[in-house]
Subunit: 218 residues, 2 copies
C-alpha cells in the first residue's frame, strides 16, 4: 500500500516528539487523510490497535517497517551524476531509511572518480560488476530522458528488479520488474492547471456567480 510510508513518517515524527499513542484520527490529521482510510489500511497489516485507546506508536512503526521491508538495508545504484543525481546522492532521506547507494554510475568519463556524498562515481561499464558484487536490486535513474530506456534495459539485464525513474521519459520494463516514476515538471504542470482554473474563475467572478473550484479532484 502506497500510503504506508506516509503514515510511517508521521509516526516517526510524533515518536521523536515523545508521543506514545495515537488514534486513527490523530494519525489522519498528521498524514492529511481520512481516518477511516487509516484504519482500513492498518487493518490489512493485522489488528495492531487497541479499541478505545488507539495505536501504540513504536509498535506500529515496527509493524509498518517490517511490512515495507525496511528492517533490512537495501543496496542501490544511482545512475547519472549530473545535477539531479548529485542532489539525490546528497539527499539524506535515503540513507536514513536504509537505502545505501553502493555506487554512482555515469557515462561521462570526466565524472568517473569523483566522490559525491561520499560515494564514488564509476563508469557505466562497471554496472554489471557492481550490481552483482553489491547485490543491488534497486536502481535510481537520473539520466537524460533520451538515455533512460537504454540504461534501464541494461540495468534490468544486469539483475536490477526495481527502478525509480527520475528521467523525464516513459520507460518500459519486462514483466516482474517494478518501476516507479517521479516527474518533477509534471507536478508543476498540474499546479499550473489549478492556477489557470483560479484565473478563469476570478474572471467569471466579475459580475457572475463565483464558482467553488477549490478541492477539485486530481
Amino acid at each position: 500500500m502506497a500510503r504506508l510510508p506516509l503514515y510511517l513518517r508521521a509516526l516517526i515524527d510524533r515518536a521523536e516528539a515523545g508521543v506514545e499513542s495515537m488514534s486513527s484520527g490523530e494519525l489522519a490529521a498528521a498524514a492529511g487523510v481520512n481516518s477511516a482510510k487509516i484504519r482500513k489500511d492498518l487493518s490489512y497489516l493485522g489488528s495492531y490497535g487497541t479499541r478505545g485507546v488507539g495505536y501504540d506508536v513504536e509498535y506500529l512503526i515496527a509493524q509498518i517497517s517490517r511490512e515495507l521491508g525496511l528492517t533490512q538495508d537495501w543496496s542501490t545504484v544511482l545512475v547519472g551524476a549530473g545535477n539531479l543525481g548529485q542532489a539525490l546522492a546528497n539527499y539524506g532521506g535515503f540513507a536514513d531509511r536504509g537505502f545505501r547507494i553502493a555506487a554512482i554510475l555515469d557515462a561521462d568519463p570526466a565524472k568517473v572518480g569523483m566522490t559525491v556524498a561520499g560515494v564514488e562515481v564509476f563508469h557505466q561499464d562497471q554496472a554489471e560488476r557492481i550490481i552483482r558484487e553489491e547485490d543491488v536490486a534497486i536502481a535510481i535513474l537520473a539520466v537524460p530522458g533520451d538515455a533512460a530506456q537504454e540504461v534501464a534495459d541494461r540495468l534490468v539485464e544486469a539483475g536490477v528488479t526495481s527502478i525509480l525513474n527520475f528521467a523525464p521519459a516513459v520507460i518500459q520494463v519486462p514483466e516482474g520488474v517494478s518501476l516507479r516514476k517521479v516527474d518533477l515538471s509534471i507536478e508543476l504542470q498540474i499546479l499550473a492547471y489549478y492556477e489557470q482554473r483560479r484565473l478563469v474563475s476570478d474572471d467569471l467572478a466579475n459580475g457572475a456567480v463565483r464558482r467553488h473550484l477549490d478541492g477539485l479532484p486530481d
Copy 2:
C-alpha cells in the same frame, strides 16, 4: 486531469521525431496506459480527434497546453538553496515548460548573493517583496522537513496560491491553496515493499507453489 502532462510529453517527443498524427493506441503505448483511457481523457477537452485517422499531434499539443495553462509563463520562487534546491534550479525541465524561477530564497545568510543556474539567491526576508513584485503564484519548497510548515505559511501569507513540496514533511495549507507533494524516499520505500514481496515469494518457491506476485496494485 493529472495524466495530461504525461500525454503532452509523449506528444512533444513524437512531434520532434516528425510524427504528425497519432491514434489513441499509439499514444497509449507511448504513455504506458490503456487506449480507452486516453480517448476518455481527451474527450473531456473536446472532440479533437478524427475518426478513422487519429489525433493531429501539433493540434493536440496546443489543446492540452492550453488546458494546462502552459501557454503562459508562470513565475515561481524556489525556497531552499541546498543540494535539492540547486538541483531543481538546474533541472532544465522547468524552464522548458514555461516555469520561470524568479528568485531562490534561503534562510542562510551565507547563501545570499550566490547565483544558481543564473538565478540569484535572496534572503527569505525578501519573500514578500519578490512574490509581490514578480507576481509569483507558485512556490517550490526544498527546505528541511522541520522548516516546511513555517515557510509554507509565510509563502501563503505573501500571496502564493500553489506549493510544490519536496520537503519530507506533511504540510497544511488553507482552503483554496493548491498543494502537491513529491517525496523522494517514499517512492523508494514503495519499491522496497515490492522487493520484499519478491524475496518472500522466492522463499515460498522452495518446494511450494510459486505465487504470481507481480503486477500487484500500488
